[in-house]
Amino acid sequence: MELFENTAEQAFRNEVRRFVDTKLPADLRDKVMNFVRYEKEDFQRWHRIIAARGWAGPNWPKEYGGAGWNAIQRKIFDEECFLGFAPRLIPHVNMICPVLQRYGTQEQKKRFLHRIWPLEDWWCQGYSEPGAGSDLASLKTRAERKGDRYIVNGQKIWTTWAHWADWMFCLARTRFEGRPQAGISFLLIDMKSPGVTVRPIISLDGVHDLNEVFLDNVEVPLENLVGAEHEGWTVAKFLLGHERTDLAGVGVAKRFMRFAKQLTRTVRKHDPLMRHRLATLEIDLLAHEWTVMRVLSSDEAGRDPGPAASTLKISSTELQQDIAELMMEGAGPCAVPYVDAARERGWAGSLPRDKVTNAASANFLDWRKVTIFGGTTEVQKNIVAKSVLGL
């Protein structure tokens, strides 16, 4: 048992920290530190800087040009990037890449893989539909085979960054009888295809990340099927279960904690309750972090990580929301004024306080999303109750 970072891990942490310190462009860091919204180009720049360092795909094996890091290294990388105020890495990259690596044809791999990490192709996820949220298998988008192509009809919703996307990986129904899970196929759809319409959804904090995507007689070549026809559910499940470090969210929680300390600094001096709440959340963060490390270390050693692994998303998202809440309360009355334009690049107007304070309450609202996407907390609990506790 060795419960300290070893010399190699410390050296790796220092190396990543130095990299973020020196290579992250100041304007990007400045945006992150001030809750200014990122643009597509911001993400692309940062992804390409990481690629130039030879670290593309922290989670991928070396044979696919990945960094070949182990689980602890990936956790360290995630954490140092968040603490260094780097833009987040685009999660879709870690969805579509492992899928293509595992299920893609040689042609698909050759065509797509090398363009994914540098975000030369921007990918979006076509899963949810108006009638299929948590109950994903009830999706209704249909793909009917006609000669050498599928004709796809249906509607996707909550599609993050569809308005920036070149490609969508999409679940569509190819068979209409039998169990709902059994007739789904995993398709790659070119977003420039005729019949694809993207309509924005503005979130409760004023942001445009989400979209509706309408698919009207969209023609998709048969070669864009991933895995076997009707077996897209297997591919989708593989994708969801792929990456733990993303779900673990230690980096983002630590970044939020920094903001929480910054925003509560004044009030803590004379309010012992606020000081106590901050300490309580720091303790919760430690408890989560050590559980993540316990799981990752088991993963790495090839041991069964036990039931803790399946609870990480539940604990992590609740923790992030609690910290976001404390940030807002730390800002107190100053979280009432909200200048949405201050979140945009190049804005130079006046604010009652700083930009972090300005964003604190909107961020609280924005962060409600984490217990909804990627399987709501309630669905997660249903799954854990059944599969882990046997209830």
Binding site: L3, R268, S297, S298, R303, I314, L389
Partner: protein, 380 residues
């Protein structure tokens, strides 16, 4: 980072685990509570035979030479079995203190006696109306010839009645000056030593102690005169880390029992566990139990840390988290068991009692949350 046990640690876990599961059953424990004296001697002898009393004693004195992780292994199993004997005070608290502060003569005499099962030492860590403050105020030690005269009162003594007692007394000018604290080891049959034992809620024992002009020789001092406080605090952190491990053992067992009950108890023609209202709460409890386990390891890994602030932060974080988590588990376990959870007969209430007492021992969740903040550089 590596969370796996070494071969030796696995063997220790097997030994103590087997003992708890096969010998220290809930039925056997009931007998212990009925006939404390006889069972106590019997169990203590078994601890000695299994080598458990020497787990935290250096090999040169015949022990296993274990550190906080080895204590964690034993205490987690003891938590699972709700062991009522005062192992913590003697085999973890006193041994750590003697290792850190004792002279060679003291180590030789006391550690070998502890391993053999012939010496039990209680720890007097609290004074009336001082809550969890370890710094003595009313207990004083005045020089007297070659030794000292002790006066004062100690409350909620850890380990109850024993052969000897370790206590902190003021030897400085100011009664609350941390630099004027000295540690003593006093035989409980000394003249002027009054001890009254009380049962605890959880079946363990504590004691109230009054010292009226108790004369002790100079070699009753553990460590250096006036420099006892940092040693005491360090040892208490080690005890708290062990309590965290014990709590995890008890929590895991209580949680398992509760899940089992949800699966088997039927009402309205279906198992309770098929109800989503209970399923979701059960999963929340699972997340608390798992995180508590992580925190007990965190505390053990930092309990000997050279940097006192980091040590205090880790131990207090663990105790605070586990205090909160176990309180929630206790409430839910009783609620989910319904009427049967309210009975003396069912083990649920016994786990509940021990977990409540662990939280209230050496700093509850609120106390340790504050201590955590006090030791965070950027808390203010």
């Amino acid at each position: 980072m590596d969370f796996s046990f070494t071969e030796e640690q696995r063997m220790l876990a097997d030994t103590v685990g087997r003992y708890i599961d096969q010998e220290y059953t809930f039925e056997a424990r009931k007998q212990t509570l009925k006939h404390p004296r006889e069972s106590f001697e019997q169990h203590w002898t078994q601890f000695a035979e299994l080598g458990l009393l020497g787990v935290n004693i250096p090999q040169e004195y015949g022990g296993l030479g274990g550190e906080a992780v080895e204590s964690l292994i034993v205490m987690e199993a003891f938590g699972r079995g709700l062991v009522v004997e005062p192992y913590l005070a003697t085999a973890i608290g006193a041994t750590t203190l003697i290792r850190q502060a004792g002279s060679d003569v003291q180590k030789e005499a006391m550690l070998t006696a502890i391993i053999a099962g012939n010496l039990r030492i209680a720890l007097a860590l609290h004074e009336p109306d001082r809550r969890y403050d370890l710094s003595p105020q009313s207990t004083t030690a005045s020089p007297d010839g070659n030794g000292f005269v002790l006066n004062g009162t100690k409350t909620v003594v850890l380990g109850g009645n024993a052969e000897q007692l370790i206590l902190a007394a003021c030897t400085g000018d100011k009664s609350d000056d941390e630099s004027g604290v000295t540690l003593f080891c006093v035989p409980c049959n000394a003249a002027g030593f009054e001890i009254e034992e009380f049962p605890n809620l959880d079946g363990q024992r504590s004691a109230e102690i009054r010292l009226r002009a108790v004369h002790v020789p100079a070699d009753a001092v553990l460590g250096e005169v006036g420099k006892g406080y940092p040693v005491l605090e360090r040892v208490v952190d080690r005890i708290v880390a062990a309590l965290c491990a014990e709590a995890v053992g008890a929590m895991v067992r209580l949680f398992e029992m509760t899940i089992q009950y949800l699966k088997t108890r039927k009402q309205f023609g279906q198992p309770l566990g098929s109800l989503q209202a209970l399923q979701h709460r059960a999963v929340e409890l699972l997340t608390l139990v798992e995180r508590s386990r992580s925190m007990a390891l965190f505390a053990a890994s930092r309990a000997n840390n050279a940097d006192p602030a980091e040590r205090r932060r880790a131990v207090s974080a663990a105790k605070a988290f586990i205090g909160r988590a176990s309180r929630r588990l206790v409430k839910e376990a009783i609620q989910m068991h319904g009427g049967i959870g309210m009975t003396e007969e069912m083990s649920v209430s016994h786990y509940a009692r021990r977990l409540l007492c662990i939280d209230l021992t050496l700093g509850d969740a609120a106390y340790h949350t504050t201590r955590f903040a006090d030791n965070s550089a950027d808390a203010d």
